[in-house]
């Protein structure tokens, strides 16, 4: 059974082919008068040969992995007795599951059907022989193209262009993953969102000033006007994100500048990773902290100063969220500030500018695109956060810009609607998908705007 080790085998084989390709290229070079006679570097020929070896083999293997289950199952199902086959496709999966359980787990068939035992034996046999065949096929698919590739190595083979072309395709494919994700996300929320808009008019959803899914708990009241207005949820989201950014941007940016420009390297070496820990503390922890430590302090303080403070406030959630996203600003900005060439600083200092002036007029403008990127990322994180808000700011949607009031955010509503106890096809649950779509469109517009601004500024600087 070579099958479990097939991937390492292919990799080992490709490594061998790489060396062979390299050797052959070197040999060609010696015969034709030195390395400079070759079109590409010897390593390029090696990589070219290795790619020819690994790619077809992996392709075959992946195809098999996708279809293995179906092929084997249909082979086994074909021999099952008629009474077991007379079932719907779904029930057949139960039978097959039983067969597999007997085959792998050594269970005695629960239903005690001898046909199952027989099928289990057949299943194992089919699986073993099929896998052996595939292993052989894979090895062939790697050796034969590799042989041709090595044969074709000559001084005129444009190996570098071929390899670089392949790498470019891979890079492009990786960038494409992001697009596919976007499409996938749109599709996975779209259908349910459309069903929601059949029950609740789009205008009510977009412009309604009241968000109160409680009215629509019963089916006969679904779509009571005003109950699904998304405006208060959106304003809540932006209120909390804004408070968070008011904390995170100054602290994060100042910390980044200090660490990069003033701090000794030893301070920088431990302070930066220490700040990064903040990004990884589970949000439940922040949530408890915000709800049980910060919120009561704010309430006491506010009451002492004569404000009406609800026990759950946007301020508590926003403050703690701001602290959570500090590393998004500090670490990423620190990297880009650090990467500003020293010569630019030296030039400025040599002209007599103080350190602060250098930072303000030279370093920051140079690092600006990266800093804006880090801030955008932090905003995104703030908009998408759930647990802290659930715990510290509550779930009631108030249309209010008062940081001392209870507000809620889009993500919080999505989560509570999706994991609630109501029927899954009620407009209430579907509202989660509509909210998801709305947030998606909204942030898309914001990002588009941000790109425009950044672009404009960047061109100005260069």
């Amino acid at each position: 059974m070579i099958y479990p080790y097939i991937i390492p085998s292919i990799l080992a084989l490709s490594a061998g082919v790489y060396i062979l390709g390299l050797r052959r290229a070197e040999k060609v070079a010696t015969y034709s008068g030195g390395l400079s006679e070759l079109h590409s570097l010897p390593t390029h020929y090696g990589v070219f040969a290795a790619l020819c070896c690994a790619m077809p083999a992996l392709l075959v293997l992946v195809l098999w992995m996708i279809f293995e289950e179906k092929v084997i199952t249909s082979m086994v199902a074909g021999n099952l007795p008629a009474d077991l086959l007379r079932q719907s496709a779904n029930e057949l999966t139960l039978v097959i599951n039983e067969v597999k359980n007997v085959a792998f787990g050594g269970f005695t068939a629960t239903s005690g059907n001898p046909a199952i035992e027989k099928a289990a034996v057949a299943y194992m046999a089919h699986l073993t022989s099929a896998r052996n065949m595939v292993s052989i096929l894979v090895v062939f698919c790697s050796i034969i193209p590799a042989w041709f590739a090595i044969k074709s190595i000559g001084k005129d083979l444009r190996a570098r262009n071929l390899v670089e072309g392949a790498v470019r395709i891979v890079l492009f494919a990786c960038a494409g993953v992001a697009i596919l994700t976007t499409i996938g996300i749109v599709f996975s929320v779209m259908f349910e969102a459309l069903r929601f808009f059949q029950a609740v008019p789009l205008t009510d959803f977009l412009f309604g000033l009241q968000w109160s899914p409680q009215i629509a708990m019963r089916a006969d009241q679904a779509g009571s006007s005003g109950a699904f207005g998304a405006v208060p949820v959106l304003t809540g989201t932006f209120l909390i994100a804004m408070i968070a950014m008011l904390v995170a941007i100054p602290i994060g940016l100042l910390a980044a500048i200090y660490l990069s420009e003033y701090a000794s390297s030893s301070l920088r070496n431990w302070a930066k990773p220490a700040l990064e820990i903040l990004a990884g503390i589970p949000t439940v922890v922040f949530g408890f902290f915000a709800a049980l430590t910060v919120a009561p302090i704010i309430r006491e303080l506010g009451t002492a100063l004569g404000f009406t403070v609800s026990s759950e406030s946007a301020l508590a959630a926003g403050l703690i969220m701001g602290i959570m996203i500090i590393p998004f600003v500090s670490s990423l900005s620190e990297d880009v500030i650090h990467a500003v060439p020293q010569s630019m600083r030296d030039g400025s200092l040599a002209l007599g500018a103080t350190h602060f002036e250098t930072i303000r007029h030279v370093v920051i403008p140079a690092a600006l695109p990266g800093i804006v990127g880090s801030i955008l990322l932090a905003v995104s994180r703030a908009v998408g956060e759930t647990m802290i808000v659930v715990m510290a700011a509550g779930l009631s949607a108030n249309l209010s810009f008062n940081p001392l009031a209870t507000v809620t955010t889009v993500t919080v509503q999505i989560v509570t609607l999706l994991v609630g106890d109501q029927e899954f096809d009620s407009p209430k649950t579907l509202a989660a998908f509509a909210l998801g779509l709305l947030l998606f469109v909204f942030t898309l517009a914001l990002n588009f705007f941000a790109l425009r601004v950044v672009r404009k500024y960047r061109e100005h600087y260069e």
Partner: protein, 347 residues
């Protein structure tokens, strides 16, 4: 670059395993987060004593649970769904449409809903009418009892002169929660119907009546606090004026920190909930696909463990975790249903 080569080696070892996915040899359960603490105890006991794999229990919420449960028959679909309410007709229909035709309904017991405050505050004795008046969005005008106005009450004393003059502040579950649904039905609706105006409204316009009695005020007196009941308990401690609404098991575990308020003169205790004199409690269920019972290993054993008296009986281990046992006759009936896999009637 030693570290990165280590990483590469580690990731390679991932691919050493055979890529075929083994068959499912464990039970898969989904559903309500309220039933989760009880079914997990049974699952663990069953797993440890039988030597079989411990069932996998997801906490998805009742609605999400039924969505998965009704997805169809087959290994990719869960075998059971926990629920904090009975299955609805529309869900049965979805199930049937997807081929899930034989469902066994099992009621496992009752869950009390407590209205509690911190130990440092005075114990309250409330009636459902008080609670309704304190929490409803619209209440009868004190000047003219036939008219409904937006809730004017600020303190408990305004609602009922015998209560303390504390600000009304109740931390409770959001409207998506089954606990909230049960609270509204058992407390708010019954509380409202003690008032003349709602009795009349019920006869005149059932829809308007339902809307009026089910709507909770949104001006900050009722705080939607999420479903983490531990958090509510801790928030109550830091805010002695507030009341909280949560499951009985949390009251039971935190008896040194919070105290339940009496409702209609009855305190929430195991005994009062079990004999029905404390009226705010609701049944809990789970549902089983009959088609899976024979073929997924362990379902029968798990069912037997759940339906045994040492689990859901009056002195069973589930009672220790806060589940209120059913009366003897009902329990016997349920155990017989489980043993015989009595299928629900399709409406």
């Amino acid at each position: 670059m030693k570290a990165s080569s280590l990483l590469v080696a580690g990731s390679l070892s991932l691919f050493m395993v055979s890529p075929a996915f083994a068959a499912r040899d464990y039970i898969s359960i989904v559903g309500s987060s309220t039933v989760y603490p009880f079914s997990t105890v049974v699952a663990e006991k069953y797993g440890k004593t039988s030597g079989a794999k411990t069932p996998k229990i997801e906490s998805t919420g009742t609605g999400g649970g039924f969505k998965l449960f009704c997805g169809g028959v087959g290994v990719d679909h869960p075998d059971m769904s926990n629920a904090s309410r009975a299955i609805k007709a529309s869900e049965i229909k979805t199930c049937a449409d997807n081929g899930v035709k034989e469902i066994v309904e099992v009621k496992i017991g009752y869950d009390g809903i407590a209205i509690a405050n911190a130990k440092t505050a005075a114990k309250l004795s409330l009636t459902r009418k008080d609670i309704f008046l304190a929490l409803a969005k619209e209440v009868p005008d004190p000047a003219d009892a036939t008219k409904l106005i937006a809730n004017p009450y600020k303190t408990w004393k305004d609602v009922n002169p015998t209560l303390p003059a504390n600000k009304i502040e109740v931390l409770g579950p959001p409207p998506t929660s089954g606990t909230r649904d049960a609270f509204v039905e058992l407390v708010m609706e019954t509380g409202a119907d003690t008032l003349e105006v709602f009795k009349n409204l019920k006869k005149a316009d059932a829809k308007a009546h339902a809307k009026a009695v089910q709507t909770v005020r949104e001006d900050g007196a009722y705080v939607e606090a999420g479903e983490n009941d531990n958090l509510i308990v801790q928030k109550l401690q830091s805010n002695p004026n507030a009341l909280g609404i949560f499951g009985f098991s949390f009251l039971d575990q935190n008896a040194d920190k919070v105290q339940g308020s009496a409702i209609e003169g009855k305190l929430p205790t195991y005994e009062t909930i079990a004999d029905g004199s404390y009226s705010v409690s609701r049944p809990l269920f789970f549902y089983v696909k009959k088609a899976h019972v024979e073929v997924i290993p362990g379902i029968k054993g798990y069912l037997a463990e759940f339906a045994s008296d040492k689990a859901w009986g009056k002195d069973g281990y589930l009672a220790d975790k806060g589940l209120i046992a059913m009366p003897d006759a009902e329990r016997k009936q349920m155990a017989a249903n489980v043993a015989g896999l009595k299928v629900m009637e399709m409406k």
